[in-house]
Symmetry: C2
Subunit: 341 residues, 2 copies
């Protein structure tokens, strides 16, 4: 084959925000699939805050990406050649393809290679509400957050991939749903399109979150779905109700820290409120993804739920696009478009 | 009556550790009990880290003590006069008497006035294992920590009132039990008398907790019963196992902070380990105290469980004695002895 595969490899462990020099772009010829293997042309790649964590050494819920390895990323692709009986050329598939144009999938299980049904959602939606962020929000909110009808649920990163789904599910479950997001445009989107009850613009003023919670959560906070950590977590903790559940899903405000992470100085509110703070990792619910996809697809069909993506074209834009996640520069689930079809 | 009652009243809200000038000692004549009231001569008073919190303004699980009010404290006393059919002179009683020599109990329910049985435990034990610290440890460990046989349970403040009971219950329940305490004498006591499997002296070196956990918790930490907060909490979090439970019972290292509380910078380990951190307040279990007292008394009778108190005589020593709690100066449950009988 004459096909060439451009790839982004991790060149160095970043200190703070990743720099261009932390990446190395390589070009390799695409190999033919061997027995049992599948060659995928990558169409879309999912860019997620968690990827920043995978670039660090140290104990986490997943092995770090090694120096010199293709950067790990989930994506959507099209099978271009297959020597595996489960796949044929033309199949739309999802899996862990990495930041590259082609992926020769040898270990199908490790890559989580599976077909997607374009009748249920667009390829981008399969990276968002029907993909990892949607699964994270669904199980994080329902299993860890355990919202009850009438509860007040606060979601940070409300316009982002996980937040948009978490909040919409809370609203569908009959909760008062209050988002926190950065900037008027995102807050308007959260209220007008995602139909949260309110959205607090944390960038509006230093007191915006504190005042916004007072105004929009008059009965306190029963569930806080936290994607951001840092000061917002600290402030929300001061407003929690007795028996509140704090879902620790992420801490995007802290992922590029060069100083130690800021722990929540108000954590003793957990005692005052007899509340709990609990972490979750989506992979633990892998055997139930089907249930969540079916439910979210149903809500989409009924017009109760929308999925919003921010699609940036060009694999060569990967380094700069990835960093948008940490400046709040994306608006909806951030997706890198590698090819049209 | 010619009896005089010396009392410690809160004169000012302390900044940091309470100073002598934050207290005012007053002397009042003792009034006769009115209809339904009970006059108690205070014998022992319980000094607890939580009292420091009651001296601050702001939202907590209990109202702050008002300026000019007698400092709130639980104690053991003897009824000297009663116009309530439930009590007669000579009864040994427990309740919220405050830092004073006599307490005229008007609202028996609010004071939690109840008789104690000296056959089950000494008056000091009724302030320790059979009192609030024991109840806190019992329900905090069993209900929030949910230890399973074979789990590794770490307890900070292990020689203290709550810690000694929490750890002994963990040991009785078949857990590997590791204490953290300050100084060799306390650690020896924790291992030799309380019969924990090991005890880490956090004062031994800056790396003592980190190294001690590695050495004594080779299978990681399943339950952490936290009485201290601060750096010890941060370090223990780095060693937790999947699904671990962190019981937030107190944060004695932070109660006299003038700077903001140090939040646990390693709290994202909750995500990595899918663990939870949950606060508890003993009052929530008030209707089950009888069950806990019966069980702990049984363990004491069987020789499986001991209760150690540090009894300091003299109400006039209250201000300095109270501060021992924050320097690690007490050895066992700290009790102020006000009168002999």
């Amino acid at each position: 084959m004459a096909l060439q595969n451009r790839q982004y490899r991790l060149a160095a462990r970043p200190v703070g925000l990743a720099k261009e020099s932390d990446w190395k772009m390589t070009t390799e010829p695409v190999a033919d699939p061997g027995e049992g293997q599948v060659l995928v042309k990558v169409l879309l790649l999912s860019l997620d805050p968690a990827m920043r964590g995978w670039m660090n050494e140290g104990r986490s819920y997943i092995e770090p990406v090694g120096i010199g390895e293709v950067m790990r990323a989930g994506g959507i692709g099209k099978v271009v050649a297959s020597k595996n009986p489960g796949f044929v050329a033309g199949d739309l598939v999802a899996g862990g393809f990495g930041i590259q144009e082609y992926c020769l999938v040898a270990d199908l299980k490790k890559a989580g290679l599976h077909k997607i049904d374009p009748r249920i959602g667009t390829p981008a939606q399969w990276l968002n509400a029907l993909g990892m962020p949607g699964m994270t929000a669904y199980f994080g909110l329902l299993e860890v957050g355990q919202p009850k009808e009438g509860d007040t649920v606060v979601v940070s990163g409300a316009a982002g991939a996980v937040g948009q789904t978490a909040g919409q599910i809370a609203r569908i479950k009959g909760c008062r749903t209050v988002g926190i997001a950065g900037g008027k445009a995102k807050c308007d989107f959260v209220v007008n399109e995602l139909k949260f009850d309110a959205c607090i613009d944390y960038k509006a003023s230093p007191q915006a979150v504190r005042e916004g919670l007072k105004a929009h959560c008059p009965k306190g906070v029963d569930v806080y779905f936290d994607n951001v950590g840092g000061e917002i977590l600290e402030v929300v903790l001061t407003r929690i109700n007795r028996g509140a559940r704090i879902v620790i899903c992420g801490a995007v405000s802290q992922y590029n820290n060069t100083a130690p992470v800021k722990g929540p100085s108000t954590y003793m509110m957990l005692l005052v409120a007899r509340a709990r703070m609990q972490g979750m990792v989506v992979f633990d619910y892998a055997d139930r993804y089907g249930e969540a996809i079916k439910q979210i697809a149903q809500w989409m069909k009924e017009g109760k739920f929308i999925s919003r993506e921010d699609i940036v074209p060009g694999i060569e834009n990967f380094p700069a696009t990835m960093n948008k996640l940490f400046s709040g520069g994306n608006f909806g689930k951030l997706v890198l478009k590698v090819a049209d079809a």
